[in-house]
Amino acid sequence: MTTLLQLDGISKSFSGINVLDKVNLEMQAGSVIGLAGENGAGKSTLMKIITGVYSKDEGRLRLRGEEKVFNTPRQAMDAGIAIIHQELNLLPELSVAENIFLGREPKGFLGLINQLIMHEKTVQLMQRLNQKISPDQTVGSLSIAQQQMVEIARALSFDADVIIMDEPTDALSERESEILFQVVDDLKSQGKALAYISHRLQEIFKLCNEVAVLRDGSMVHSGATQDIDEDELIRHMVGRTLSEKYPYTAAVPGDTRLRVENIHAPGVNDFSFSARAGEVIGFSGLAGSGRTEFARALYGMTCVSQGVVEIDGTAVSIHTPGDAVSAGVGYVTEDRKGEGLIQDHGLRSNMTLSALSLFQTKYGLIDRRREIDAVHKYIEVFSIKTQSSEMPVAQLSGGNQQKVSIAKTLIPGPRIVILDEPTRGVDVGAKREIYLLIQQLKEQGLCILLMSSDLPEILGISDRIMVVARGHVIAEFTREEADQEKIMHAAIAREEKCI
């Protein structure tokens, strides 16, 4: 095997805080190296150094044996290194094709952009990814999963030799993930060198022949995947062994808290179910099944055209997110960058945005002390890795941003919490903390609606499971009845019947 990329003693600190400490890494042609580590371990930072987004403080980077310094992402791209970043980096107003070829549009007559070639290449890429996305669609109109596929298409379009994927399946459903896995295997057999970051450890074992683990900025393990098992990998990541992956406590549910009857809304078609206080309801379904659309309708982000919503026995009409918050509904969005957090603003002001009235004194001013106490409580409970409560959330690692986003929803003290992909981008340890927290909230009598494309997660922590397809609840299982096969079967049977 030939070494394509070699990192030697890379160090990096942000405002005096060490994030990477003398890290070594090699990427071989025809090999996929998995990179694991807790939130904030420095994985994305390392990849951003390779791709010229950040400059390194120390160390050397060699590409095909030749030492290189990349000052801009462009230089790294031109040298044949492509990356799918953890956060979406698309321009919502531009079309799919324009996004993919941004900055390197094929030129034709008089130096004008050759739309035809751009269009054609995009169609080819989408075929390769098995997507029905038109090159002319604006990216803003796509679902998050589709946008992620566009990111993947863009990375492929470079035809680079070194390809880095930073949590690429984060926003994808099973079906799309499978497509990506196929692509990864193809690239590997074409002799490309790949790095694959994920918090879904099964994916690392499935795709990667090598694995490396970062902990607090140091490389604590690297070797062949076959020489290590999941427990050992987790031990390297968190420095200890974790008990039970999906903590679950059976709770005695209370009265009916939420009753949804024949709701119609954009993407939601005759949606009905009811949930009791102290229950976790899991919603499963393929991408585009209408789970997220239902969540948005319930939270007042889209218009409910028909149907009844009852909370604790009283009918409520929710037209705006403001109505939802006052009715005691909280929502953790699946798109934390665009909808969840103000990227340039500090952790504190993001976390308390929905709940400022709780911290008001009788003069109508905000009691800074109480606000900060609440923020610190959540920083502690979720072990959010941050330099201070004022750090801009854009500078937090992806997983830590997700924790801030959840805390923000919980601070107003909702009665019903909708969690849309709550463990997206969260490391194993923190996932467990979030599951424990969900159990705690359940014991306090909250009603939790969990939307997730991670089926084991749904099975692991839900009391009841609804299978959603075409904006409709098509099957319901109790925790005891449910298993992976039954759910997939129900979801797919319905899809096929409709086609």
């Binding site: 997110p321 918050v325 603003h345 001013l365």
Partner: protein
């Protein structure tokens, strides 16, 4: 490293001090108590307008109509005083007129979804037109009733030896600062500028907040109008023309981002002082008012360029 951060964080203040040093070298009359109070008094009108503008710009909006709103409110105010209404009534009625005009901007922006630039540009034109129609293009004197005399103190009077406009400006800045930094409204203003979408999804009524900032901007323009009317003992139909640019310049010189979400009122105050000192210096140095505009533009351009340079390197 640390020093550099302190310097960057206080670059507006440093700019102001440097400017003052430079001017005092050229003109011995600059650093006198009288002249400094004079600068403060002249600055207070722009500072008050810039306060409202800061709120608006923090939400990623802009209000171009402030100069016209000032003129219209001024005309209303002068009429009321000339008709011997009580001072309290005249002042509050004028502020209410400014608030209503601001509300009109707010409705067009938040409920009809028109871009703030366009909405307030249209507002600026219509309100200026209305002022000209109302005044017939002629100044309105505040008249000869007794009330006119006591009304004059709002613009020309002193309290403890300090010109009253300065005191008014200080009071509104203290209140404005408390609301922006300690109250919910202020937090929402910053949040909307940071991301309107995120703020809306967090359950905040974004439209109401936007309405409020345009109303505030209108009220501040009217307050500035009252002070100007009092000082001149009349309302001029063309009063306030170009004031929107001075206010925006003060906000930008004070380090507030035109993209919204970032900035401070203290910065705006410093920005307004920079413009005030500059105007004063050019007057002291007998620069003709035509050249003054060029000089002012050049300084603002310089400040903005330095600002974006500094942002790039840090």
């Amino acid at each position: 490293m640390h020093l550099k951060k302190v310097l960057i964080d206080n670059k507006s203040l440093i700019g102001l001090l440097l400017l003052m040093c430079a001017v005092s070298l050229f003109s011995p009359n600059f650093l006198t108590v009288d002249n400094l109070l004079n600068i403060l008094r002249q600055t207070s009108i722009n500072a008050i307008i810039a306060l409202g503008m800061t709120y608006v710009i923090l939400t990623a909006g802009i209000d171009l109509s402030v100069g016209s709103v000032l003129a219209f409110s001024s005309a209303i105010c002068a009429t009321l005083i000339a008709n011997d209404s009580s001072m309290i009534v005249a002042v509050f009625a004028t502020l209410a007129v400014g608030g209503l005009l601001g509300a009109a901007n707010g409705v067009v922006i938040s409920f009809f979804g028109v871009q703030p630039f366009i909405a307030t540009l249209v507002g600026m034109t219509i309100v200026r037109g209305a002022t000209l129609v109302y005044t017939g293009g002629r100044p309105i004197s505040t008249g000869d009733f007794d009330v006119a005399e006591s009304f004059y103190t709002l613009g020309g009077g002193y309290l403890f030896g300090i010109p009253i406009p300065i005191i008014i400006a200080l009071v509104v800045f203290v209140i404005g600062w408390i609301i922006l930094n300690k109250a919910r409204l202020g937090r929402y203003v910053y949040a909307i500028g940071g991301s309107e979408q995120v703020t809306r999804i967090a359950g905040i009524n974004v439209n109401t907040v936007k309405m409020t900032v345009y109303v505030l901007s209108g009220v501040m323009a009217a307050l500035a109008g009252i002070i100007l009317t009092a000082r001149l003992e009349s309302a001029q139909p063309t009063a306030g023309a170009g004031y929107e640019l001075d206010a925006i310049a003060a906000v930008v010189l004070g380090g507030t981002s035109l993209m919204g979400g970032r900035g401070t009122l203290v910065g705006t105050l410093i920005g307004a002082l920079i413009i005030g000192v500059l105007n004063n210096a050019l007057n002291l140095m007998d620069v003709s008012s035509y050249y003054q505009q060029i000089a002012k533009g050049a300084v603002i351009l310089l400040a903005v360029v330095v600002d974006s340079r500094v942002k790039h390197t840090s």
